[in-house]
């Protein structure tokens, strides 16, 4: 069981994600009569809708976008829950579970204060999901699932993700780190 305790090559882990994606589509087609491709960002919409409907359910039920995504606990939301659990199990297995409030590279650029990182992560999260929903997917839905299916939309979105990310990261972190 030594392999279980060690980190894996990204080629192996990535290749296995490819197999997982295929298996998921085949099994979901058989059992659920609809293909389930990996994706995560619509879950944020459903979670936001579920939270909002606690305080303003009329507003959610009259919102066109929320209604188009069907606000409920679904396959993809459970996938996201599973990702947290799976990552936790793997981190425990490889003894890599590490409590971290400010990552090293961030610290080098913006200092060690946790609330600065929290604010940055929060704002980054807002921008990332606005972009992902506008593009119609994230690096899972467009990047992995889209590219696997040779989707035109997947390739376009990947170009956008990479161009935006590389440009922004070089502007933001060039001064720090290294």
């Amino acid at each position: 069981m030594n392999w279980f305790r060690k980190p894996w090559s990204p080629y192996i882990a990535g290749g296995l994600v490819g197999l997982l994606a295929i298996t998921s589509v085949v099994i979901s087609t058989q059992l659920l009569a609809k293909p389930k491709y990996l994706g995560t960002s619509t879950t944020m919409v459903r979670l936001a809708g579920l939270a909002e409907s606690q305080v303003a359910s009329d507003h959610v039920s009259s919102n066109e976008y929320f209604q188009s995504k069907k606000i409920k606990v679904d396959w993809q939301m459970m996938l996201v829950v599973g990702i947290v659990i799976g990552a936790f199990l793997a981190a425990i297995a490889s003894q890599e579970f590490k409590s971290e409030t400010v990552p090293t590279l961030w610290k080098a650029r913006f200092g060690p204060k946790w609330h600065v990182r929290a604010l940055g992560a929060f704002l980054g999260g807002i921008l990332a999901i606005l972009g992902a929903r506008l593009a119609g997917g994230c690096p899972s839905g467009h990047g992995l699932s889209g590219m696997m299916q040779l989707a035109g939309s997947g390739l376009l979105a990947m170009v956008g993700f990479m161009a935006g990310g590389i440009l922004a990261a070089n502007c933001i972190y060039r001064k720090g780190g290294n």
Binding site: M77, L105, L150, G164
Partner: protein, 176 residues
């Protein structure tokens, strides 16, 4: 059944994300700074294996594709905006969840931001629907359909491209 299937698939997915080492902020931003190729190797390996498998299964008639609609405006502008957020947060929605599982609590602030952003997007949607989302729309088309080239030829070309990138990464002086 649907929920259980999602959960199990997610556990495997999260396990592999962690084992592949892609849940670290330094790996994510390092990729965007073009200093670390872990993310690239991971993603391209997944796409390489996945594209062959998906199209074999589709050609056998076992599964259907589920393509997202093309909107050049939405995908390039939205993609770019996502990239900016990705660089600041250091995670995408899937890896943020995984990072949380690995104990990187700061990713949780990012998820909180994503929930707020998703609510915001729902409010903006009516105006986006008639503007950005309509720019350069071509429907749910695949690259082989657009180019009029057989899909296995396209898969072959992508596979060669990914393998060439892997080869260059492994023999180059900077190893990820």
């Amino acid at each position: 059944m649907e929920l259980l299937l999602g959960l199990i698939t997610g556990i495997f997915f999260g396990f592999l994300l962690q084992k592949g080492g892609v849940l670290r902020f330094e790996k994510q931003v390092g990729f965007l700074l073009l200093r670390d190729a872990t993310i690239l190797k991971f993603m391209f390996s997944a796409i390489l294996v996945g594209s062959v498998g998906i199209y074999v299964c589709r050609d056998m008639g076992w599964i259907d594709l589920k393509l997202k609609s093309i909107s050049i405006g939405a995908q390039l502008i939205g993609g770019g905006l996502f990239g900016l957020g990705w660089a600041i947060l250091g995670y995408c929605p899937g890896t943020a969840g995984g990072a949380l599982g690995e104990g990187r609590w700061h990713a949780g602030w990012g998820i909180l931001g994503m929930l707020v952003g998703a609510g915001l997007y729902a409010e903006l949607y009516p105006s986006l629907k008639d503007s950005v989302l309509t720019w350069g729309t071509y429907g749910k088309k695949s690259i082989p359909e657009i180019l009029g080239i057989h899909h296995w030829l396209i898969i072959g070309m992508f596979t060669l491209l990914y393998l060439a990138i892997f080869f260059l990464l492994e023999r180059g002086p900077k190893k990820g």
